[in-house]
Subunit: 333 residues, 2 copies
């Protein structure tokens, strides 16, 4: 393109670096000057070359977000706040989906010229955090963490919410309690299972092995596991689900098996995604500030890029119990 | 980084341009050479600079997808196939959300160094297509088109599905039929309304003005509109919804108002998103190949970038009627 930042600088009466700063919305440039530069750029039809900008700053102002499955409703509820927060602080979001091979994911992230990556799919044995650390590509854990590489993280503290839920369940007469947990190699499934078992122990209860299932955090997995649990001679009267998306599957399985929720079986989710409050769902669940947590991960990422030596931050989000239609008095069997 | 493509070229025994082509997976390079280059790159720990690549080719291999709201389930069902298709043909997806000001959106898209943009939020009066055309940034319409700028497009042909739905509704005794349509300035709302009215006319029926509502394609809008319709002295016995996401809102409103679906009121959606088939929802709806349509838009975008003079393609997706629980015999009132 013929028009360069020099032309814009001349017309606006500022230096060339000021032009780039103004167009980046750098706070060091006054609003007045920004307007002058923008007007000059529009008048001349100037479009900054992002590639040129990246070469001169060594930064692309692009941040990756690694998710497993873009169709999964859990992820669609974090993509929006991460995107909006990053846009507000001058970064662009690049979505990446995980393949089976973690090593390849790390290489792809590194090759894509990102300034940093928010990891939302980490397993305790993921290779990606190691590879990213070795290549000095900054990253932040969202929700799930790996065991052996420390980094900035935003995580959920499940104990309070689950403890309140169990107390209420016991009041309602539930004794035979089942669970459809997330994958064993995720920190979220581990911490929720621990918190659930601790809460049950407070009331002298246990998760009996025959009532526990584990699988991916998706609707199909919740459906399959619940179908199995409800086919048992003595099904649990209450099923704790690894998250809401799994709980939707549990509700579907119950409906298909002819079990009325909550008369015949109660279901409790985790996350309080928007559909949990819908009148046609009314899912009892564990709530926390998911949007806030996603926004915080975006902010931590930007801070890490801009201040590489900032102290590590682990931000925990507290949980609370939200009682809705899907939890009621234990079915007598 | 110390390692350059020259080092990789030397170790692999090829020219520097061959290194870039091999790492871009260019079909002109043999699989053998590609492997040799990749091995050399891995051995040396070489990571190509994307910014350098963009400067030398004039392309960024990034394609934008413009959506209104990342939380809207309709969009989460198109982001995944667009992402996957683009990744398969060597492009990266950049998400962009629309703000109130279309002019700004176009400027942002242009400034972001994209090779092209898939527009999923177009209104018939959008300014963005004009601006993009003036700046020669290639774009493809997904689902919605603008009236006055032609471009490659993938769209839905609603007539067959809606005609089948209306025929079945009439068989079931529905005569007073309402509709919660999308925004009047979208080509999708216009074509669905035309198709619905034409199908009703075949049976000597009309959409009476008092039973028609219009609003955004979201759950809140479907909920509010249906709440109004059901509060009328003579509510419609069947409500056609602009899409499934709107229909979820209609189901919520009916539940809240104490109307049993389908005993007291029937609801029909449009899109057949995955939850429509869930046992706890079982939404009667209009289906088409949404994933295929999203993938096709991605392919059309890549083709337009690579062959700017290719003839314009308008790909229409046929619809069919899917009958589930939410449609039943008309309530007698």
């Amino acid at each position: 393109m013929a028009v360069t930042s020099r032309d814009v600088a001349r017309l606006a009466g500022v230096s060339q670096p000021t032009v780039s700063r103004a167009l980046r919305d750098d706070p060091r440039v006054s609003e007045d000057t920004k307007k002058r530069v923008r007007d000059a750029a529009v008048l001349l039809g100037y479009v900054p070359s992002e590639a040129g900008r990246a070469l001169s700053s060594g930064r692309t102002r692009r941040i990756g977000l690694l998710v497993t499955d873009l169709k999964n409703q859990f992820y669609s509820n974090i993509i929006a706040p991460v995107h909006d927060e990053l846009e507000g602080i001058g970064y662009q979001l690049m979505l990446h989906t995980e393949t089976a091979d973690n090593e390849t994911v790390a290489e792809r992230l590194i090759a894509n010229g990102l300034d940093g990556v928010i990891l939302a799919t980490t397993t305790v044995d993921s290779v990606a955090p190691l590879r990213l650390r070795d290549r000095s590509l900054p990253f932040v854990y969202f929700n799930r963490t790996a065991a052996y590489v420390d980094a900035d993280a935003t995580v959920v503290a499940p104990s309070r919410g689950l403890s309140e839920a169990v107390t209420r369940a016991v009041e309602l007469g539930h004794r035979r309690i089942g669970a459809v947990l997330g994958p064993s190699n995720t920190s979220t499934a581990q911490s929720r299972e621990l918190a659930l078992r601790a809460a049950l122990a407070e009331h002298g209860l246990v998760l009996e092995p025959d009532t526990v299932r584990r699988g991916p955090y998706d609707t199909a997995s919740g459906d399959a596991a619940t179908t199995e649990l409800l086919a048992m001679p003595a099904p649990p009267t209450l099923i704790f689900c690894g998250n809401d998306v799994v709980a939707y599957g549990a509700l579907n399985a119950a409906r298909r098996a002819g079990f009325d929720v909550p008369r015949d079986v109660s279901v409790v989710g985790f996350d309080d995604l928007p559909p949990a409050a819908w009148p046609i769902i009314e899912l009892t669940t564990i709530a926390y500030d998911l949007s806030g947590m996603a926004r915080e991960a975006a902010r931590l990422m930007a801070r890490r890029i801009e201040e590489p030596d900032a102290p590590l931050a682990h931000v925990e989000y507290e949980t609370s119990f939200v009682e809705r239609r899907t939890l009621a008095a234990a079915a007598s069997r």
